[in-house]
Symmetry: C2
Subunit: 364 residues, 2 copies
Amino acid sequence: MSTISDRKKKILAAVVDEYIRTAEPVGSKAIAQTANLGCSPATIRNELAELVNMGYLEQPHTSAGRVPTPMGYRMYVNELMDRQKLSLEETEDINRRLNQKLQELDDTIDNVSRLASQLTDYPALALTTQSAVTIKRFDIIYVDANTFILVVMLSNNSVRNKLVRLPISVDQKMIQRLSSLFNASFTGITEDQITPLLINSTERAADDSMGLSSVIAAFAIEVLTDSSTPTAAVSGENRLLGQPEFRDPDKAHRLMSYLSGGGHILPADDSFGGTDEVRVLIGPENVAEELKDSSVVIASYDAGDNTRGLIGVVGPTRMDYSAVAAKLSFLAAGLSRRLGGGEAPPEGMHNKLIIKGDNSDGSR
Amino acid sequence: MSTISDRKKKILAAVVDEYIRTAEPVGSKAIAQTANLGCSPATIRNELAELVNMGYLEQPHTSAGRVPTPMGYRMYVNELMDRQKLSLEETEDINRRLNQKLQELDDTIDNVSRLASQLTDYPALALTTQSAVTIKRFDIIYVDANTFILVVMLSNNSVRNKLVRLPISVDQKMIQRLSSLFNASFTGITEDQITPLLINSTERAADDSMGLSSVIAAFAIEVLTDSSTPTAAVSGENRLLGQPEFRDPDKAHRLMSYLSGGGHILPADDSFGGTDEVRVLIGPENVAEELKDSSVVIASYDAGDNTRGLIGVVGPTRMDYSAVAAKLSFLAAGLSRRLGGGEAPPEGMHNKLIIKGDNSDGSR
DNA sequence: ATTAGCACTCGAAAGTTGAGAGTGCCAACA
DNA sequence: TGTTGGCACTCTCAACTTTCGAGTGCTAAT
C-alpha cells in the first residue's frame, strides 16, 4: 500500500515544487508542462486523483488544483526533493557574515538568530541548551575602598563580571582573602552545590562580618543560573507578513506573539543534536498548538564545552524546505567550526546534508 | 482666528477621546450623549462643521462622522487631554518590574524597550545617546601561559572583559608590565586618541615583541567604539497587528520592517532630553516617511555619566496619548532614579508631567 | 443662538451574475 | 490495460447591483 509508482513520485514532486513557488493550487495542465513526463493532462488527472486518495494531496474545493498535505510534504522532504547545494556566492556570503558577526560580539545567540532570519527570509530563533556549567576561577579587583569588580571565568570559557559598590569600606587584605577562599571552595561546583552552609563557612573563614561573601556568592549563583538556563533569541518575526498564508492579521498576530514569547519549538523530550543533521517538522507534527499549520526547520551546532546550540526557522508549511535546509545546515556547520571544540569538520561538509524527521506517517 | 471657543474645545476633546476608544468616526449624536454640554446634536453639528473648516477635524466621506486631523491631535495633546495619573497599582507594577529587570542584567537597553512595550501595548524602542566614553582602568588577569583576561572599567562605570588566548607563551612579568603601562597611558582618553603611534610606543616600552599591545589596544578601541555608538533596541513590533489601522498586512509589514531596522525615530538634529518631559510627534510631524501616519511618544531619562537614554513608543495617530505619556514619563523617572547620577527626583514626581512637542501648527 | 425636522449622500454589507480554471468521467484508441 | 481527447459540471473570484442605515446640511420655527 505504501509503495508508490515512480511517475506518481515525479508528479507529487512537481506539485510541491510548483506550490512552493506560487502558493496557488496546482492543476494538471501546469504539471504536464513543467514536469516533462511524456503524458497528457488527462493521465495526470488520474494520477492526481489517486494521490489524493492516498493522502498526499488534497483539493481546497472540487474544482481547484491540488495542494500537498502534511503527509505529502513529508514524503517530499524525505525522498523527493533535490538536496539543494548552495552556490559559491551563497557560501561565501554566509562565511563572510559569520566572520563579521562572531567577532563583533559574543552575545552570539542573538546574532545567530538574526543571521538565520536574514539568510532564509523567514523568522528564526536560536537557542542554547547549556549543560552544567561550573566556575573555573574567581578574581576580585580592588578599585577603591567602596568598590570592587568581580570577575568570574566559567567552564565554558566565557567570562562574566560585575561591579560591586558598597556602603562601607573594605581593605585590600579582605579582598585578597575572599579571593583565595572563593577560588578554593567555589570553583568546579555547580549551582545547586552552593548552599547556605558553604556560604556561611566561607564567611566565617574570611572573617567577613559585612556579608561580602553572600554578595559574591549571589553573583556566582546568578552567573551559573544564567549560563545554564537555556535562552532563546527570536528575530525577523515580521518576515511572516511577507508570506501570503499570513495575510490574515489575526493569524499572523497569533504566531508572532507565540514566537516573540520565545516559543518552544522543539518537543521538550527531544534528544536532538547528533551530527550536523537537519530536522524538519511539518504542520501537525509540531507539538505546539500555535505551530500546527506551520513548519519548522531546525539545525544543531556544536557550541563548545559539550554544549549544542539550535537554530530554527519557522514558516508556512509551503516553505522552501530545500533551500532553508541547505542554508541552515551550512550555517550550523560554520558555527560548529568556529565555536566547537574538538574536530573541525572539513570545509566542504555541507554537501553531505542529512535530513531527518518525524517518520511516523500517521497524519490523519 | 486661532482662538477657539470653550465649547468647541470640549467638543474636539470629546471627538478625540471617542475616536481613540473606538477607532470609528464620531457622529454628532454620540457627542451629545457622552460630553454633557446641554445642547442638541444639531448644535453640535454646526460646531463640528466649523471645526472641520478650521482644520481640526475631517470627514472620511460626506456622510460619516468626524475624525481628528493631525492638527486636531496636536491641539488635544497640547491643551485638551486630561493628564492621566497612574493608579497606585500601575505605579507599583512598574516599579516592581523595574527592580526586577534592572538587577537581572545590565544590558538594560533591551529590557527597557521590552518593558515599555509591555506597559503600553505598543511597539517600543529604546536607545542610548552615549557621549564620549573613556577607560577608567585596565586590569589584566593572568590565567595560564597562553591565556589572560582583559578587564576594562569605563567612565560610565560599566565593566567589559575579554578572554584572550595566545598561540605563544607569556610570563606574568610581561602581563604586569603591560598592565601598568596601559593604565598609565590609555586611561582617560577617548577612542580617537588611541593612535598607532601610542600603541607603538607602548609596545616598545613594554619590550613586547609579540604584539600583545596591539591586541589589548584593539580591545580598548572595540570597547570604546561599542559604548559610544548609539544602540537601539526594538520590541513588540507585533503589537502593531492588534491595531485596526494595521489590518492591512502590507502597511503593517512596512512599518514593522522599518522599526526592526532600528528605525530612526528622532529628528537627527534634535537636542532632546531636558528634564523628564515627554515629547509627542504626531503623524506628519515625523521626519521618517514610514512614520508619516503614525505617532511617536518619546521620553528621556538620565542614564548616568552625563548620558541620556530615550524610550519611544510607536502607534497609530489614534493612540492613547494620555495613557502612554503618563506611563513613559513614570518609567523614565524610575530609570533616572536608578541609573542617574546626581539628584534623585522625589518619588511622586510623575504628577508634574510636562508634555512638549512640535508646535509649528503648519500642517496642511 | 438653538433646535426639530427632513431630504440627501455615501459607504458597507449582502446579493447577483458571469467568466474561467480545473475537475471527473466516458468513450475511443494503441 | 494504460492513455487520451472531449465535454459537461462545479466552484471560486471579481465585478457589478441593491439595500440599508448612519450621519450630514439645510431650513424654518422657537
